[in-house]
Symmetry: C2
Subunit: 149 residues, 2 copies
DNA sequence: GCTTGACCTCAAGTTGACTTGAATTCGTAG
DNA sequence: CTACGAATTCAAGTCAACTTGAGGTCAAGC
């Protein structure tokens, strides 16, 4: 099974080498050996990284994600817990759907000030009720701009 | 029309006074006057803050949000642009849906290692294809724990 | 008229997720 | 065998979005 060095992993995933080193540092991924100085990764790391990207997208912190997978990258969560995560995401989907509808309404509504429009306020209230129903959500820090240099 | 001071706004929205001051500092909301030292807010700020919360939830930065509303809080975006934002959110919904399905599958799949399961990989690939289709998304920084200690 | 508590300002600190830079080390192609 | 480029380490820097702390100011109630 061919080993990859960090540049290849970076190229394949769009994640910068510096980020990959950081991920390794915090134990999110692991390199299997060294070729000289160079880290060698097994191809399965690509899959793990997909999973990580997905988790980040869903608003989980790297810490959360590290908690979801064992250090080997195999999901190490009990099934009920996974279902719970899925439910949380479904919640989030509901909120975003409300937001999308609100925006679509704003785009179509002829009222001059949306803050006055009853439909708008209804949508807004619905969205916020969803939100406050779950007390607190963490969203991870910004990452912009792929492509090193 | 009754004015609110910062503590009342905080109580009504769950946003800490310090955050509200920060929002005012960056021009996201505005207080209308002072009572002694104390900022006085108009009730409409509550609605604006709902909007802001919603935008944050959807993954927009405060900067993005500030760009979406005029300093008075009235949405100041062209309709096509609003539609575009709505479409972006729809994208995000799709991604989250894929993630949710992936998790649900993981919870139900009897395979010992999901990294081997073809269904899993298919879901994963689908999710990642969606993701890379839009090159780059910003997600805002973490906020946990309401309630000023 | 004085205390009290909510508010004020301003500077500095925090957290998460990386990035950047400088100085160094390899392995490979020529 | 030497130069090159890709990788290395480590410390420090960055960014967004706030929070914290110190020290100060009011207005209202007793």
């Amino acid at each position: 099974m061919k080993r990859l060095d960090i540049g290849e992993v970076a190229a394949a995933t769009g994640i910068r080498p510096s980020a990959l080193r950081y991920y390794e540092e915090i134990g999110l991924i692991a390199s299997v050996s060294r070729h000289g100085l160079r880290r060698q990764f097994e191809p399965r790391v690509l899959l793990q990284l997909k999973l990580i990207a997905l988790g980040r997208m869903a608003g989980f912190s790297l810490d959360d994600i590290a908690g979801m997978f064992g250090s080997d990258g195999v999901p190490a969560l009990s099934r009920p817990l996974i279902r719970q995560k899925a439910d949380e995401i479904e919640q989030q989907i509901g909120e975003l759907t409300a937001l999308r509808d609100t925006l679509r309404h704003v785009a179509d509504c002829p009222a001059p000030s949306h803050l006055e429009c009853p439909t708008f306020r209804r949508l807004l209230d619905a969205a916020v009720r969803r939100e406050t129903a779950r007390t607190s959500r963490r969203v991870p820090a910004g990452s912009r701009g792929q492509g090193e240099a």
